[in-house]
Symmetry: C2
Subunit: 125 residues, 2 copies
DNA sequence: TCTCTGATTCGAAGAACGTCGAGACAACCC
DNA sequence: GGGTTGTCTCGACGTTCTTCGAATCAGAGA
């Protein structure tokens, strides 16, 4: 179970299983690419990238939507849509407490993406 | 010049300047997000993610297009289009030698992305 | 020079994406 | 209960993306 599951899911990734070696050392299998590409795509929008960083760097570990929305020149529904994208990708988690909804980063998948991009030493040059 | 330029470009990033702290420690400025988001977006397609890994993990540090194309069930022009996307994003570099074109990874921007995603310790759990 | 192979560019069709306004749902306060 | 505030869902519109076939460009070899 530790080598390589036939099917990969974001749940596996979030479970903390170090599934993927750096892409500079090992070619990414098609299955893994299909699972991880949506996460990169989710970060591929400037608004979502900023949202993600605001959530991940929140001092309390979480941040209210009411603090996210006014930081952009975008409508509420648009921000909500982007947050939904991040949620569905597994990058963040949402929790409603009373009137407000709080978002929290899920470090598992972020670590996966980071380790994938890791590069040791440039071979030449 | 070492703290933060008013305008950021991929050239700066590739120059090796450690421009960005991990997003879990510091909120990404809008400018930086606008520059880095396209790189994440480029990796946000399964085909491009696999292409990138095949290029980055090539034993000789580079790989021929003729080795990339047959690895996918896609037409030559489509692969070429994806490679162009990776090229324009600054993730890879291309060089023609005789009949064949070789692609090489540019580690600078990949390191930037990796450090951006770096997470220290999970705050809780 | 002519031809052949490898890679890119061009133009087009269909799908997916980002954005918005309107409406709906949830929780608080009077 | 009724009103208010905060957030999300639903359609809709215009833009961007992915993919392909056809055509073009670059270099090698006869």
């Amino acid at each position: 179970m530790s080598k390589q599951s036939p099917v990969l899911s974001l749940t596996d990734l979030n479970a903390g299983t170090p599934c993927c070696a750096p892409m500079s050392e090992q070619r990414i299998p098609a299955q893994t690419a299909a699972v991880l590409a949506p996460a990169f795509k989710a970060l591929g929008d400037p608004v979502r990238l900023q949202l993600m960083s605001m959530i991940a760097s929140a001092p309390a570990g979480e941040i209210c939507v009411c603090d996210l929305t006014p930081a952009f020149d975008l409508s509420g529904p648009t921000i909500s849509h982007h947050l939904k994208t991040l949620r569905e990708t597994g990058l963040v988690d949402a929790e409603r407490r009373g009137t407000w909804v709080y978002y929290r980063a899920r470090p598992g998948i972020m670590r996966q993406l980071a380790s994938l991009l890791q590069i040791g030493m440039p071979a030449s040059a």
